[in-house]
């Protein structure tokens, strides 16, 4: 019952805001905030329950949605450690971001619309988290896409925002194309959509490896789209067109992590298909590296954070790919805290400076102390400095990579850690220190914004201790439950931890050397690699100008040409033309003279007699 309540309260809030309280802005925001906070309170009970019983049995509740012979689709809820963890992350981060938004969006004409969309998003996200079958997860998968579309395009009068929202939706659709096909393949093989039933069938075995491989790859497509992995990563940076709280909530903390969550949900499938796992791991690793390099050369504060998110998502997916399910989920959790923090703090900075370009800020720390402090804490966590949360979670991933003998990926991981530390340092120094480059009078944000920042900062710093490898029960005890193929712990590896600490410190040092001085523009500008990275390796150009403009629109043009010229002009109008022309010829016989007709008639009678008569 509680789970249904959690699921539907945000929906009710969204409906209520849309139809009833649209004009009372304050009330709308209170309803939305109240809904998500209430959900948080409701979800405390299952969390406590989980803490008491680490090896809880999954609790399912469902009703039949479509029921015809051969197809039985349910709508239901599933409570197991994985979903409870996600529930906690979503409700907790969601609540803070909702509260923050009240300050951030203050005075915006679409205030109520914003909160309605946020509520809709929370509803859809709960749907993903709580769903017990593939169809339901797909439904909510699409619905988070919808709410993401609505929120990215929130400032719909801006063409860039409209384009970004469209792009996000369509790119996600491409991923979902694979996802739904994967669901079909799996349904074909197992005859059910239910996660637990599928796991039972998979455990029994008997399904051909090729089918599993295909299903795993196709389902991964969904994760690639939603978690913005290469080659569908292009939508996430553009999604920063939305309001900053949206970036924090949807495009950093929760929705984009859904891909990782999906991989965790279907861990058994991947466990049974090691080839697919390799693909997952390498795609993740490549994305992490690519995004990290691009992040170095961005000047928009939100975009830097966005690319760092991409990089982190790549990290998580890589973790999933090497079998580090617990590590990935742990990183997901800590990442949700520190990345939401970074975005919200960035939003607070933007709120103060009215610009997103870091080269128009500088020395901001003096003006926005609280924001600056929390931002720096978040950056340290992101960079993975001991003992911040990022250190522990990143370390688990690196350990998982190392112990599963993916040395190449391990090297990438270390490299990414180095670059991450470097660009976070760059971001912090250029934005908050150095010389003043801003205009106007920036001021600190109101408490409604700073308090969530502080709370998030606390979690960003401390949440890593939940996964300390030396204590039982820790994070992994709960998550790596028996139902998930039992990917074990990887323990603590001093070599890995040491190496990562060294490279992180090196990255910070390098950043300090380059950026901690009086600057007006990036000293690395002019470097070829910088240029490439600054232009995001021309992926957008390639997609827009070649794939979309040439191939996609080209096919449409060809089809239209065929339609207009061949079908309509040649066949249809050609047929009409033939009829008309033959009519023109035949009508010459109708002279309008009565006696001609009569003559022909009589001649016809004679002819008929001659032909058929009894002569």
């Amino acid at each position: 019952m509680t789970t249904w309540l959690i699921l539907f309260i945000p929906l009710i809030s969204a409906v209520l805001i849309t139809f009833v309280t649209r004009r009372q802005k304050d009330l709308s925001s209170y309803i939305s905030i109240g809904a998500v906070v209430f959900c948080f309170i409701l979800s405390i009970d299952p969390i406590l329950n989980l803490l008491k019983h680490p090896h809880m049995e999954p609790i399912q509740q469902s009703f039949s949605w479509i029921n015809i012979p051969g197809l039985h689709v349910e709508m239901g809820t599933l409570l197991d450690p994985l979903s409870i963890l996600m529930l906690f992350v979503v409700t907790f981060v969601g609540s803070l971001i909702h509260i923050y938004s009240r300050g951030y969006m203050h005075g915006d004409p679409g205030f109520s619309r914003f909160f309605a969309c946020l509520s809709l998003f929370i509803f859809s996200m709960f749907g993903i988290v709580l769903s017990n079958n593939f169809i339901q997860i797909f439904i909510f998968w699409e619905l988070v896409g919808l709410s993401s579309y609505l929120l990215i395009g929130y400032y719909f009068e801006k063409p860039s925002a409209s384009d970004a929202s469209k792009k996000a939706f369509l790119v996600n659709r491409i991923g979902d194309f694979g996802f739904i096909l994967g669901i079909f393949v799996l349904f074909q093989a197992t005859g059910t959509f239910n996660f637990i039933e599928i796991n039972h069938i998979l455990e029994k075995g008997g399904i051909p490896d090729s089918t599993l491989y295909l299903a795993a790859l196709l389902i991964f497509c969904g994760a690639v789209g939603k978690s913005a992995q290469f080659p569908l990563h292009v939508w996430l940076p553009d999604a920063m067109e939305g309001p900053t709280p949206v970036s924090a909530l949807i495009h950093a903390a929760t929705m984009v992590a859904a891909g990782v969550y999906l991989l965790a949900r279907t861990a058994l499938l991947y466990h049974l298909s090691p080839d697919a796992m390799e693909v997952v791991a390498y795609i993740g690793g490549f994305t992490a590296l690519l995004a990290a390099v691009i992040a170095v050369a961005q000047n928009d504060i939100k975009r830097v954070v966005a690319y760092s998110t991409l990089s982190s998502l790549g990290y998580m997916v890589m973790a999933m790919g090497v079998g580090g399910m617990t590590a990935g989920m742990f990183y997901l959790t800590t990442h949700a805290f520190f990345k939401a923090l970074l975005f919200l703090a960035a939003g607070s900075v933007i709120h103060a400076f009215h610009t997103q370009n870091i080269w128009e800020m500088g020395s901001a720390f003096k003006k926005v102390k609280t924001t600056g402090a929390t931002f720096i804490l978040g950056s340290l966590a992101m960079a993975g400095v001991f003992p911040f949360s990022g250190f522990w979670s990143k370390d688990e991933i690196l350990t998982a990579t190392f112990t599963s003998h993916h040395y190449f990926l391990f090297a990438i991981g270390i490299l990414v850690a180095f670059i991450s530390a470097f660009f976070m340092t760059r971001l912090v120094f250029v934005t908050f220190f150095g010389n003043e480059r801003y205009h106007g009078h920036p001021h600190e944000s109101p408490p409604v914004m700073t308090v969530p920042l502080i709370i998030l900062a606390v979690f960003a710093v401390l949440s890593g201790f939940a996964g300390l490898p030396w204590f039982e029960p820790n994070f992994g005890t709960y998550i790596a439950g028996p139902s998930h193929g039992g990917h074990g712990e990887h323990g603590f590896n001093f070599f890995v931890a040491g190496l990562s600490t060294v490279v992180v410190l090196a990255g910070i040092a390098l950043g300090y050397i380059i950026y901690c001085r009086e600057l007006t523009k990036d000293p690395l500008e002019g470097n070829v690699l910088y240029k490439l990275a600054h232009n995001k390796f021309y992926f957008d150009e390639f997609y827009d100008n070649f794939i979309v403009a040439k191939i996609y629109n080209g096919i449409a043009t060809i089809c239209n040409f065929a339609e207009v010229n061949i079908i309509i002009h040649l066949f249809v109008n050609g047929f009409a033309y033939l009829t008309r022309e033959s009519g023109k010829i035949l009508r010459l016989t109708t002279t309008g003279k009565l006696q001609h007709y009569t003559l022909i008639m009589v001649a016809g009678v004679v002819a008929l007699f001659l032909l058929f008569g009894a002569l």
Partner: protein, 167 residues
Amino acid sequence: MEKLFFLIFAVIAIVSAIGVVSLRNPVHSAISLMVCFLQVAALFILLRSPFLAAVQVFIYVGAVVVLFLFAVMVLDLGKERFGGYLHHQRPIALVVVIGFVFVMGFTILHGSLDAPLGNYTEEALVKNTEIMGKLLFTKYVFPFEVVSFLLLIALIGAIVLAMKEKR
């Protein structure tokens, strides 16, 4: 005796028919047509259908020919306006008509009639008119009604058509 009458009637009928189509003055044509109608009426009597002969005389001679004459008179058409043949299709028309005569004549001469005979023999036909009246109001009452309705419509139609248009 009968053959003689037939011959007389037939020859007059044909001659007058040729007159109808060949005479230049429409009044003469109409009168020629009347002669032809009378011959056909006479032939009806030979065929033991006195009622039809009477009808033929009443309607054709009494009404149709008079109508034609009326039309010619009312329109007051000069003789010269009415004369003339269509010259351009005359040869083909003649060929076709002769072909028609040949074909039909051949059929008539070589054809044979084998159909079940009815029971209206010459003796029964003494009460010719009575029989016909009975049939018209019993078996053929529906066509009879249709035709009378048609006649009514034709009547109205003719009046409407011939009415002078109101300015």
